[in-house]
Subunit: 84 residues, 2 copies
């Protein structure tokens, strides 16, 4: 069965306070980068097997849904590629 | 000055043990997704001002470099867009 690598981004919803982002913002400002806003999220690279690209997409989205807290977070399937 | 949003991915280098990824792997397997490997990293959405796209790219890469531990991590500028 072909192997696929999915890149899933999990980020806090807009409006949800992001203390880690605020901390990074402070660090960047202190180092001479006057940024407006920083939001920090997670990226997951998942390797798995699937019959074809369509099934791989379905599996990746199902996993993203499992790993996301729908109250505070949103996920996006950023990339999906077949591995050699 | 135009505003830009950069998406920076910071991930552990290949070969560096990723306990968080292992944990997620275990969770997914337990939930019926027989994944091969999971690697967890950070995604940063940074909003800042720059004169033009080229300068924005330079600034984004400089910030990525500051926020990355070169011994264990690699960063990639995943996306850069001008905000309206």
């Amino acid at each position: 069965m072909p192997r696929y690598q999915a890149t899933l981004l999990i980020e806090l919803k807009d409006g949800i306070l992001d203390p880690q982002g605020r901390a990074v913002e402070g660090v960047l400002k202190g180092l001479g980068h006057p940024v407006e806003e920083v939001r920090v999220g997670k990226v997951l690279e998942v390797v798995f097997q699937a019959e074809n690209h369509l099934q791989a997409e379905e599996k990746a989205k199902a996993m993203g849904k499992l790993l996301t807290n729908p109250v505070m977070e949103v996920f996006a399937l950023e990339a999906l590629k077949e591995l050699p």
